[in-house]
């Protein structure tokens, strides 16, 4: 099974833009890329989802190149409350037509004052 690769950790400062990149080989042709945020002792929270090019919502942007083998989550003007673990989620082919959802190891983002 293909795996996703993310930086283990990142540091930034309040007010900065933060970009987190995820590499994902063998992504399914019709599958989406999804990013989640998780605080300690809580379940993950959906941030954004995309298929190609660029998607933007009220909290983040997602950039996906044409080959879809990677994606970049962009968090504008981060604050201390954005300190969390960020997961990249893709579906990969598994046992013919069944799809298994694979989570990356996550990126621990620490925002400093």
């Amino acid at each position: 099974l293909a795996k996703t690769t993310q930086p283990i950790s990142m540091d930034s400062y309040e007010g900065q833009e933060v970009n987190i990149t995820c590499s994902h080989n063998n992504i399914a042709t019709n599958d989406y890329i999804t990013w989640y945020q998780q605080f300690p002792s809580q379940g993950p929270r959906f941030i954004i989802q995309g298929y190609k090019t660029k998607v933007t919502n009220e909290v983040a942007s997602l950039f996906i190149p044409a080959d879809r083998k990677s994606s970049t989550l962009s968090l504008p003007r981060v604050s201390l409350s954005d300190t969390a673990v960020y997961y990249c989620l893709v579906g990969v082919p598994y046992m013919d037509s069944n799809y298994q959802l694979i989570w990356g190891a996550g990126t621990k983002l620490i925002i400093k004052p």
Partner: protein, 113 residues
Amino acid sequence: DAGVTQSPTHLIKTRGQQVTLRCSPKSGHDTVSWYQQALGQGPQFIFQYYEEEERQRGNFPDRFSGHQFPNYSSELNVNALLLGDSALYLCASGTGQMNTEAFFGQGTRLTVV
């Protein structure tokens, strides 16, 4: 809307025992997925239930089983508990089979001693 609710929140069991965890999906959702998250790691997909059937399964032994009821709620059963089963068990609900845009519960913290 109560969102996804899981019970119990915490549980301590002895090796060899059996445990049942419960999940009520978000209103309007018909798909439930279960994940195991060890401390410091990303969630690992256990299985997904849709229309009261197990539709996808991750790399977990048969000791892990589940059920989905007509009201879409779900149970996760683990038999012959091992110390290594200690983890946060997360339930996620969504619509449809792929369930990539999922809503997670707070999880059940299981400790096996």
